[in-house]
Symmetry: C2
Subunit: 292 residues, 2 copies
């Protein structure tokens, strides 16, 4: 099966699902969208993102070659066993959830005639809903594909093709490995940003001058604290152990930096700050960091 011959059914027409539908339309035989609300299905149709929109799950997936669950992680976990009896034989069942461990465990229980494949596109926006969906959302983003042991090479290849057709760069990672990495590069930064905002709120916010002083550095460092609460709660609760491990290591590193300031050992300070700067620069060689 190739993507161009496939019917892709996307369950959940929010920002992620709606954008994916729009990105895939014209690159596969047919794109069907299944929404919870009739208005979302109508909007997706009106915006040209789907060939057909419905609120009837059974109808939407009946002839699907690929089904993509674009709902929150814990909804995905609930939907997987409900969907299984509705899917045609050999159907590729993917999801777009930000954490993969618990989804993979649930996917293991699917009937053998279904091909499961975890997915996690590393893109998004602050706003949610079909109204802000954008077929260009996936352009250039890393799209993690998390196959199970039971996932066939053909199913993985089809998922790969789908990610590329959406404009993304596929990266294959085992579910546990993805959860470990994403805890450090995405979930930890979110909590770091939240704690910074909470610190500002309990200290300097009493001084009306503070917000005039707030510099671009604070803005960058605190940016993720503006993320969607439902999505982040879902993520923190389904990747709890990896997040706690990352937080432990982070707190340890932070104590080391505090002790560096405490002891005021200039030579050691310069050495450690210099090493950190080098690591950061090697990560993003072309970036321009603002200093204030």
């Amino acid at each position: 099966m190739e993507l161009s011959e496939s019917q892709v059914t996307i369950v959940g027409l929010g920002l992620m699902g709606g954008s994916l539908a729009g990105a895939l339309r014209g690159k596969c035989r047919r794109v069907v969208g299944v929404a919870r609300r009739a208005e979302s299905a109508e909007t997706a149709l009106a915006r040209g993102f789907v060939d057909e929109g419905t609120v009837d799950m059974a109808e939407g997936v009946r002839e699907a070659d690929i089904v993509v669950l674009a709902t929150p992680v814990r909804v995905i976990i609930r939907q997987l066993p409900e969907l299984a009896p509705l899917l045609p034989k050999g159907c590729l069942l993917m999801d777009l959830g930000s954490t993969k461990g618990r989804i993979a465990a649930e996917m293991e229980r699917l009937p053998e005639h279904i091909q499961p494949l975890g997915g996690h596109p590393m893109c998004g926006k602050e706003k949610s809903g079909i109204e802000v969906a954008d077929p260009a959302l996936y352009d250039g983003c890393t799209f993690i594909l998390a196959p199970l042991k039971r996932t066939s090479a053909e199913a993985l290849a089809l998922g790969h093709e789908l990610a590329e057709a959406a404009g993304a760069v596929p990266l294959v990672l085992e579910p546990e490995r993805q959860d470990y990495i994403v805890a450090a590069v995405s979930h930890l930064p979110y909590l770091i940003a939240c704690a910074l905002v909470a610190t500002a709120d309990t200290t300097i916010s009493a001084d009306p001058a503070s917000w005039e002083v707030v510099a671009t550095g604070f803005r960058s460092t605190s940016r993720l604290a503006g993320s969607d609460v439902t999505m982040m709660t879902d993520i923190l609760l389904t990747n709890r152990e990896e997040v706690l491990k990352a937080l432990d290591t982070y707190q340890e590193r932070l104590r080391e930096f505090a002790s560096l300031v405490e002891t005021a050992d200039e030579e050691k300070m310069r050495e450690i700050l210099g090493a950190v700067r080098k690591i950061r620069r090697d990560m993003y060689p072309a970036s321009q960091q603002v200093i204030e």
Copy 2:
């Protein structure tokens, strides 16, 4: 004395001093630049930032109405007593250092015929040196003015005029108050970013896939870790107590977030993350936060 009639001498022709010279040229009687290296003075002259460039401090400040020290904080502390005997009576002596407490203490000791005024423009770039100086650097940035009790209203007004002439928005703050606020909005975010980079380095960096996954959230949160090491060492060592206090509060807040994940109390988590999100949004109402 008004700015338009003044000779402004800027000591230190790096990014900050060079840019300020360029921004003020034409708006005062004369801009003189004092550099450590003859090449910097020549470049400032060639780029049209100064009317005169010199490496001779005594010559550069002899006829100054306003002297601005645009050197690192601990160099400023050393230069203040050296400069005092060279300055004309009534001269306004400002600085651009990022921390103000120790500079203010040193300014208190200046002879009475000198008018001291702390300054801290909240702008900058990753790169340093006269080569990257830009007269537009100060446009729209908050320029903190930290007067001492001995600073006259006239001297403060002249500093105000200078900041505005450079394109900045002046904000008057006592030195201790500025150090307290800036520790939380600028120095703490720097250390937070460093600890995040160090965490990534000691955990996920062993997995070659990690850097492909590194998302825009990590990029924002870690941005400040790329800041200039000499400048940051200077800042951390001269604002040590405020930075340690901010770090203490931050570590406390972070433990609260860790316990939120640990106990997995969904209702409480939603409530706290929602409150933090609201605070962040109220700070930057128009901003678009990227989620991944």
